[in-house]
Symmetry: C2
């Protein structure tokens, strides 16, 4: 059953017992822009979350971590604003993050530690609490089981399109839904920082299994994508499980649950890469023949972040030498005489010998927009897959001209 689930249309309100809203609180400069999202579970939900490893933690990350610890992982709501990251904003910013949670809790009538907070947008600018305070009642009134799409739009910054995904799995004969929404991609939206993802399920999942499932799913999805190798001050992935389906996940059904969760997270993660700044191609980087899984991932990330690889693919150039050179400098076991490079299904280098006669075939393949490049390290039998996008002049234009 695991691995066979596929996404359907839907999002955070596809699982039963979740309502959402996306409203305009006037945080973004453009009048009427959606910039405040509220996600509510009708009953207290079990929650798991992973946060950025960046040491310049934004205030909402600090507050959400505290609340998860204090509530023992029980959450009623998540309040998210876009347009301002509330990062590098000192003690005042901490107070605003606390006030956002407190005001949401007051309106919902739940303990403050059952509210998580997230922000995305410009770093170093104060988040005006009065706008949040004004927007919250609007969000509360707009809450609906059909408002997942509004919430998905309200968390966007420079995202070219909203990212939503959902799937259904069967647990002990009952249908369980998993849904999610996401925005951004690491520092792909610079200053408008941040990758945020929110996933819901109506399964009942014990806290320990929920944490484990989120860790596994994130490792193979959100942690396996890269646009420019950056990691923002505000990144987080939050998962709520409210049990509204009446189905309980246990060790026996854990595999099915992780598979469904991974399906939803992968769809969201690939959406982030496809929407990367200036991106014209989705690139799957597959590394095989590694001495360990960690080394496979490290080499794959090095390739996926290499500006030389990303520009070559942008230009449709089957430049296998760059793939070999990056694998060779990735700091992992690598044996040139047994290494190989494949673009699509075309072998361009194998066992120390180039196959440049195949370059035209590979160049033709690179005209596509959904591409796979594979590097065999010749040092073992472990592998890893990561996803990235190409690097275009448009990326430079967006990032050089941002703010000026």
């Amino acid at each position: 059953m695991a691995g066979t689930s596929s996404t359907m249309s839907g999002g955070v309100t596809t699982p039963r017992g979740f309502r959402a809203a996306g409203v305009s609180a006037g945080i973004k400069a453009k009048e009427g822009s959606l910039d405040l999202a509220l996600l509510v579970s009708d009953a207290p939900a079990r929650a798991a979350a992973v946060f950025t490893t960046n040491r310049a933690l934004a205030a909402p990350v600090v507050v959400s971590r505290e609340h998860l610890a204090r509530s023992g992982g029980t959450v009623r709501a998540i309040i998210v604003n876009s347009g301002c990251a509330n990062a590098c904003t000192g003690e005042e910013g901490m107070q605003v993050a606390r006030d956002m949670a407190a005001e949401t809790a007051r309106l919902l009538g739940c303990p403050v530690e059952q509210v998580l907070v997230a922000s995305t947008g410009v770093i170093g600018v104060a988040l005006p609490m009065e706008k949040i305070r004004g927007g919250l009642p609007l969000a509360l009134r707009a809450l609906g089981a059909d408002q997942g799409p509004s919430a998905a739009r309200a968390i966007m910054t420079t995202d070219p399109f909203p990212k939503e995904a959902a799937t259904t799995i069967s647990i002990a004969g009952r249908d369980v839904a998993i849904g999610g929404m996401a925005k951004g991609s690491g520092m792909i939206e610079p200053m408008l920082a941040t990758m945020l993802a929110f996933v819901t399920t109506d399964a009942m999942v014990p806290k320990a299994l929920l944490d484990r499932a989120l860790g596994e799913a994130v490792n193979d999805t959100f942690n396996a994508i890269t646009v420019d190798g950056e990691c923002s001050t505000n990144d987080c992935v939050m998962l709520l499980a409210n049990g509204a389906s009446g189905a309980s996940v246990d060790e026996a059904t854990y595999g099915a649950f992780v598979a469904g969760l991974t399906t939803v997270c992968r769809e969201l993660a690939l959406g982030i890469v496809r929407g990367g700044e200036g991106a014209t191609k989705l690139i799957t980087v597959r590394v095989t023949g590694a001495a360990s899984s960690g080394e496979a991932r490290r080499a794959a990330k090095a390739i996926a972040n290499s500006p030389l690889v990303k520009t070559a693919i942008h230009g449709g150039d089957p430049n296998w030498g760059r793939l070999i050179a990056v694998a060779g400098r990735a700091g992992v076991a690598f044996e040139l005489s047994r290494a190989a490079v494949t673009i699509g299904s075309t072998v361009l280098f194998k066992d120390g010998r180039p196959y440049d006669e195949a370059a035209p075939e590979a160049a033709e393949y690179l005209k596509g927009t959904d591409l796979t490049v594979s590097v065999h390290l010749g040092a073992g039998n472990l592998s890893s897959t990561v996803w990235t996008c190409d690097l275009s002049a448009e990326y430079v234009r967006i990032n050089a001209d941002y703010r000026t």
Copy 2:
């Protein structure tokens, strides 16, 4: 005396007892292009070298390492070709690298292990030995104590200008000259891989001191520059000391020698960055307040390689949030409440508080072409300086269109 030496015009033939040549051997497609350089010490010289850490080692790197080990660090000549990297070329490539050294040794009448070899150019293409064989007698005839500039041109690939530097220091009352030439910058010339540097001195330096001096100088210069974070299959820095000045470096004069060597290496290294693909600005990245020197360097490299930082500076945007965000994700001790960002001499963030009112001043400064950005990590008192260039749409154009 140390640290006061500055560069003067000159290069590898500025020290006494060295001759060089740059000729056309027909390796590069364009007729008459200089592509074969020969550097000869009239007397056997002490040699030290550092090579790429890339595991996909090019054949000339393998051969030069072998020769240095076999000769105990005694070298008469270095033969260098451009236009072909002789990398990923299997056993045939190894044979060509060996033959290049052997033929040079035969013509000079010295043991083969006293000849080092280097190549730079396209990866995965066979280096035609008959062209090297045809070019070598031309190079021998052209050898001259005034031919450093020709050699510096003959090692270029897509470099916009040749890189040469020289200085004079005083050792025990005698003038000692140090000179050098360099090309490229890591993988800045993709496929046309490689940073190569060759440094000469007429000091007499014991092998142990020579190795130590090169390691120190390279650490603060060639290892402190980055254009795109890549490291090629062919990178090397070679240093020859022939004693022709009659001055000997010992522990007492080691400091002065390292200072002079560092001056020459820094000038060459900065020339490489200035000539980076698409570069319009030289950026000095200074990290202070680190818990260790290693962490300072790591954070500085992370900032210097960040496409977000490089594009912001390209666009003249004093985007201090990106500098903080990169420092925070660099994997080093970092304390946001004590951190600071300075662009030029303008403080934009300090002790957890933004100083955005100073942004116009910083933006004005960023219009320059020789810039310094500083990040204080707030975690200790150690520091590091690295150099990089901005990231322009021109970089993408060069690298996307290369080969196609």
